[in-house]
Symmetry: none
Subunit: 182 residues, 2 copies
DNA sequence: CCTTCTTGTCTAGTATATTAAACGATATGA
DNA sequence: TCATATCGTTTAATATACTAGACAAGAAGG
């Protein structure tokens, strides 16, 4: 449940082969604080954690992103793409069953008038894509734009977003998102 | 020199269109604390910042990887894609200048006879794509296959791989890779 | 003009992060 | 054996994060 800041910091410090006192000296804090943080006896303020990491040095973003993730199937015929959508919005997923993959790549098809729903979507991760046929109306954080063939998008998926095919022609998009939502 | 936690939090909260009190309710903290944090009057402890972000929801890693300042560009016209390739292999990159992005999404175009080179490529990460026009000959770990429109690939980039357009028609692919190689 | 609701801000009191200094343990050398 | 380091831990005092509640400003409706 809790982010284990203490263990993380200890791992990093020992990986650099420096003592609590040495790190404290570089960071401009006391060695006692380092000790307490590493034991999870206190939850450091962002400002002091930043000071500590500056002594390594390491950014807060790097600190909180510690992890990563095979020779499975590499080629996929059209019939090997897994169909996920409905009649209005077709989603063909590449490498659906691949364990531990870091992205979802989709061939999307929006029928005329189709949309991702009435509500705005919002979830973790990032998504991007290129329109290859037709036109799509995309709204991100209140901003709306219609994209045509060759045009593209890239946004953080936390921002409220919605896709809608406002035209009369079907619209196709190749898209990718990470981490894999589908 | 300090990370502007307050402005970040305010940007995120307003992007979601919720009030300080609503966020506080979801996060299980007081609205006053949200106010103080957003004004940078206090530097929140990691534990309380995590509580607040859980209300969005957003991870600490995502929070600190968000780029500061204005909302990044979400829409890209064809002329806003950055051209990276040569005359044989054209690579149009989406969101090239976006700092901290987690993927590269490309519109690739292989002229007849064009290839990624004589040597096999091998690097970190994963890559995937969908062919939208023409045919491409893809070799991964010794296995070779020709993919046509609607067909796709997904493989770990450490595996030796090579793309070649063996046909007479230009071939277009929309591809994605993570982490961003381009 | 009134309410009544919502917004963000501020203040006094309390909980907790942080400091300064001490402690015990381990190691090295005279 | 006795120093003299350095290591991580602990404690009491202090600085600061956090809470509960009040405040002023704006909007909606009577």
């Amino acid at each position: 449940m809790n982010i284990d800041v203490g263990v993380r910091l200890r791992n990093i410090r020992t990986a650099f082969g420096i003592s609590q006192r040495e790190l404290a000296r570089r960071a401009g804090v006391t060695n006692g604080l380092i000790s307490l943080i590493e034991q999870n006896r206190v939850s450091p303020s962002v400002s002091s954690l930043k000071k500590v990491l500056d002594g390594v040095p390491m950014s807060l973003a790097e600190f909180f992103t510690l992890d990563l993730g095979a020779a499975p199937q590499a080629f996929f015929g059209t019939d090997e793409l897994v169909e996920l959508g409905n009649e209005q919005v077709s989603l063909r997923l590449v490498a659906a069953q691949r364990p531990g993959r870091q992205m979802s790549v989709l061939h999307e098809r929006y029928a005329p008038g189709a949309a991702t729903g009435e509500e705005m979507l919002a979830h973790r991760g990032e998504e991007a894509g290129v329109v290859i046929r037709g036109r799509i109306e995309l709204t991100v954080s209140g901003a709306t734009r219609v994209l045509g063939p060759g045009e593209a998008y890239y946004f953080a998926s936390q921002l409220p977003h919605r896709f809608r095919n406002a035209g009369r022609e079907a619209c196709e998009i190749i898209s990718a998102c990470t981490p894999p939502t589908f």
